[in-house]
Symmetry: C2
Subunit: 155 residues, 2 copies
DNA sequence: GCTTGACTTAAAGTTAACTTTAACTTGTAA
DNA sequence: TTACAAGTTAAAGTTAACTTTAAGTCAAGC
C-alpha cells in the first residue's frame, strides 16, 4: 500500500494531479483508510501507466474514465475495450508518422543552417534546388514537402 | 498571390487561425492590397509548413514568433536559428521515443484483448507471466514497462 | 441600386487539464 | 503540548491556442 506522496514520487506526477485523476474517476479500485487517506497499490501504478499511454494516444480524460469504467464492468466489455485499443493504435501510428515528417524538416533545416554557418550567409543555400542537394538531404526535403494532409476523419 | 480563403483551403487551416497567426506575428513578409486585404504568396505556404513543424516539435506560438523575427533579421541570426533547430530535433526525437513506448503498450493490449476475446474472458491472460507470453509480445510488454522517466530537464 | 460573397476588425468566449488557494485533520517527534 | 509533515476538501484560477461574435467594407453581378 502506498500513500499519495509515495505514488507521486514513484510515477513522477504532482500530488494534485493524482487527486484530480482520482476525482475524475480514472483511478478505480483505490481505497481510503479510517482517516480518509487514500491508499494506492501496484494496480494503481499499472493504471497510471495505461492512463499515460491513452493520453499520449490522443484520448481525453473523460474518455479514459469511460475506459476505466468498462474495466470495472468485467468480461462483458472486452469487445469495446479491444476496439478502443485498435482505434488508438491507428491514432498513435498516424501521430508518429506526422512527427517523423516534422523531424525530416527539422533535420533538413539543421543541414541548411550548418551550410549557412560555414559560409557566413544563407545566400547560396537559400536558392539551392533540391536536385543539387546531397542525396540524403534531398530525401529529407522531399519527405517534409509532401502534399498537405487532408482533414482527419472524425472519430 | 493568394487570398486568405485560398491559403486556408490549400493548407487546410481555418481562416481565423491564419488571421490569428498573422496577428501574432508568425507570418512575416505578408502584404495588403489597397483595400486592406491580405495577400499571401508561396513564402507564406513555406512559413506555414515551418510553423506546423515547430509546433509539433513542442514550441509555443510566441517562441515561433521569435524565430520568425530572427529570420527577418538576416545572416546575423543564423547561429541562433541553427541552435533552435538542434534543440527541437532532440525534443521531437524524445517525443517519438515516448510515443513508441506508448505504442508498445497499446500493441500489447491489442494482443491481450484478442486473447481475452477468443476465450470469452480475461481470466487466464490477466494473470499470465511475461515469461509465458510469445517472444514478440513479451518484448512489447517489457518495452512498455520500463522505469518511469525522470523529470525532463528545463529548457 | 441592391444583394451576395469574401474580406476586415476588436473583443469576448471556449476548452481541457491541470494548478493553486485556503482552511482543515491527523499522527508522530521533541 | 506544541510543532510539523503529510494528508484532506471545495472552489477558484491559470494557460495556450484558438474560435466565435458582431459590426463593418468592398467589388461583382443582376
Amino acid at each position: 500500500m502506498y500513500t499519495i506522496g509515495e505514488v507521486s514520487k514513484m510515477v513522477n506526477l504532482p500530488i494534485p494531479t493524482l487527486r484530480y485523476y482520482d476525482n475524475e474517476g480514472l483511478l478505480i479500485d483505490t481505497v481510503r483508510d479510517s482517516a480518509g487517506i487514500r491508499k494506492f497499490n501496484d494496480k494503481t501504478l499499472e493504471s497510471l501507466r495505461v492512463i499515460e499511454c491513452l493520453k499520449k494516444s490522443g484520448l481525453q480524460i473523460k474518455e479514459i474514465k469511460e475506459f476505466m469504467n468498462w474495466c470495472s464492468l468485467g468480461d462483458k466489455t472486452i469487445f469495446q475495450r479491444r476496439e478502443m485499443f485498435i482505434r488508438q493504435k491507428a491514432h498513435i501510428e498516424q501521430e508518429i508518422k506526422e512527427l517523423e515528417d516534422a523531424l525530416a524538416l527539422i533535420k533538413f533545416k539543421c543541414w541548411y543552417y550548418d551550410e549557412a554557418l560555414k559560409e557566413g550567409s544563407e545566400k547560396r543555400v537559400k536558392k539551392l534546388d533540391p536536385h543539387d542537394m546531397p542525396e540524403e538531404i534531398r530525401l529529407l526535403f522531399e519527405q517534409s514537402h509532401q502534399q498537405y494532409k487532408k482533414k482527419p476523419i472524425a472519430k
